[in-house]
């Protein structure tokens, strides 16, 4: 597996993209992205578990259930989430699908639809129709990055990547773009990702692989687990490489590469967390099982007190233990141990047998001063382990979300 320099969602063969500014964003920035496969593709999707799925989520689930074998495009707008918009919103999403299909001369059920932005706002269908015409006329293999930019909302950086995988039959490429601004608490449904590949993969296998990849990437940063109204990760695989994924070795390597692309995109999301200044890789080990480890890790990673301490470069292990203690997992306080480090430097133990270990204040201050910190909590109960990624909670986060108005 090799990471491509400047890889995008159009790095795999047979994909083109375009972006346009419809006027959904007050800033005037681009807000419509069209991603098209030249040929029919397998598709798969993983969606939010929120009880109030946005219209595009409802529609895409329906589309994928009836047609996951001959998809052609993903149309994405930012600025409006088309969530909490009722039947009218669903009709808008369907119209968005139809308009795109018309311009691409394909069937509506060959088009997937994504929206992100403010909840409760209806789409301006006049502006959207004009935008769809513009993008479908401007498709190019060079516009992958432009598409990635158009799906941003409060994101400050474009999120995209691509990798190549050598397989016995030849080389396949997997690309992708993502957006996600409020990683800290993404309940405004802001995480979207679209992956592309020129491998040939049966839809059922693609769905299974995508589920695994998302579970170990986006679901390890979306702290309450896929809970916004719009969260969606889609993948299209068009087979343009001529390489079919079917044998064990191909399945394994392609799966690893898909995991890797999702992981890299998820990392880019967390690194662009609203107002974030410091990043935490948190591993909880020694849990009864992986589920329990993940449960403890998520509670720690969402604790405002842990997150503000991280912002203050404060090795406040008491807050970490207190958060672990309320995660709903039975703990033995006397077995808890906690270590921190940054980069490849050796770990420093902060907690031993549930109490303060002895450490060098100056050394710990140096570790915490870094932009990226690793923390490892051992529960001493079993073999279960899980890693999550989070960032600090800063005054900037509050400022951004206080001022991001309806």
């Amino acid at each position: 597996m090799q990471i491509l320099a400047e890889g995008t969602a159009t790095s795999p063969r047979g994909f083109q993209a375009a972006a346009f500014a419809c006027g959904f964003k007050r800033s005037g920035a681009t807000d419509l992205a069209l991603l098209v496969s030249d040929s029919e593709s397998s598709g798969a999707g993983v969606f939010t578990r929120n009880q109030l799925p946005a219209a595009p989520v409802v529609l895409d689930r329906e589309t994928l259930s009836s047609n996951s074998g001959r998809l052609r495009a993903v149309i994405t707008n930012s600025g409006s989430a088309n969530a909490c918009t009722g039947m009218a919103g669903l009709e808008d999403a369907k119209e968005m699908q139809r308009l795109t299909a018309k311009d691409l001369h394909c069937d509506p059920d060959q088009v997937l639809v994504l929206s992100t932005g403010l909840i409760g706002l209806r789409l301006d269908m006049v502006k959207l129709e004009a935008g769809i015409h513009e993008t479908s006329a401007a498709l190019s293999v060079d516009h992958g990055a432009a598409a990635a930019e158009a799906i941003m909302t409060t994101d400050t950086r474009v999120k995209q990547t691509a990798v190549t995988v050598e397989l016995p039959q030849g080389t396949v490429t997997i690309g992708g773009m993502a957006k996600g601004s409020g990683m800290i608490h993404p309940d405004m449904a802001t995480t979207l990702a679209v992956l592309t590949s020129d491998a040939q993969v049966p839809p059922a296998i693609l769905q299974k692989m995508l589920g695994h990849a998302v579970d170990h990437s986006f679901n390890r940063i979306t702290v309450d687990g896929d809970t916004s109204t719009n969260d969606s990760v889609l993948v299209l695989a068009n087979g343009a490489s001529g390489v079919r994924i079917e044998d064990d070795i191909e399945l394994e390597r392609f799966g690893e590469a898909l995991d890797r692309v999702c992981y890299m995109l998820a990392q880019q999301v967390v690194h662009d967390g609203e107002g974030a200044s410091r990043f935490l890789t948190l591993t909880v080990g020694g849990a009864p099982d992986e589920k329990a480890a993940l449960q403890v890790a998520r509670v720690i990673a969402t604790s405002p007190l842990v997150k503000t301490a991280l912002g203050g470069a404060d090795p406040n292990w008491g807050r970490v233990l207190a958060a672990a203690g309320r995660a709903g997992v039975e703990l033995d306080p006397d077995r808890l141990a906690l270590w921190i480090r940054n980069g490849s430097a050796s770990e420093v133990q902060l907690v031993d047998a549930g109490q303060a270990a002895e450490w060098d204040e100056a050394h710990v201050a140096t570790i915490m001063a870094a932009t990226e910190v690793q923390m490892r909590l051992e529960l001493g109960l079993g073999e279960g382990s899980a890693t999550v990624w989070t960032c600090d909670l800063t005054e900037d986060y509050v400022s951004i979300n206080t001022r991001y108005r309806t």
Copy 2:
């Protein structure tokens, strides 16, 4: 029931208090509070469900299980939580109990112990012993407010109240003091409350009543439900009024008054939320049952996006619905309705049938500009209802918790 002007924990007959500055707080403020009943009291307690209970919590549970009928005192220190301090910390808590008992000429198991402050710090027993001597020599019925001040940590205001209740046999008084700074997310174990009464109440009844009162007050503001390492609510009832609580009418009125005192103290805690500038009373109705209503209400009330919108006086109903949608309760999006108001003004409907209602922007802006806002979400599924209280998430909250160092 009547609220006493300037009521404190020593308003009920037969209670005295004292405070002293041992030097646990860097500021030099008082940090030790002793509350004593002149005679033996019934006692009850409700404690954190955190898996890492602090030493005083472990000790008080033990004390109350062996002696809930002849308690004499509660000794409370601030500045150090005596949590995550292992066996040595438990010995410190026991020594704190013994030292207090010695000065009061009673048995150790007649003394309850509370600590609040930083986790992981051992108590300075030399300073503590001196402080216990000082407080036990300075007991007075006039020092209720001083005691309430000594249990504060990042609190900006003293929290105390007292009410009188007329009963057939005579009048009884219930007083109380509380501390709680980080209401927004109290996983640093910062909520303590001590209630007092001159009524005569059997311990088992007192425990049951306290459970009810806490469940409808402190547990409606502690967002993950009693989850810090130190959270404790204690009550002592010494019978000094000569009025025994045993008949239905007495049980009902005394219970209501205890509910009321807990409610008022809990309200004082939420109004002193770290960095808080705006307060939200959130009622979720139409739920399948009360438990489901409470579950939805708590998720909304803890959402950073809802809390930052509240800070920005932004009627961002989309964030409220999105939070409701991830609460783990099955919802019918088309039945959701949301109203806001402030004070006694009439409600304005923001959401009807799961979508934006029509409202007057200027009017809604006036409502949101108030310091106290009420919000009502109807799920349209059943008869379950619950109310919780919360405050906004501000840059000051982040600032306080970033700088509150270990």
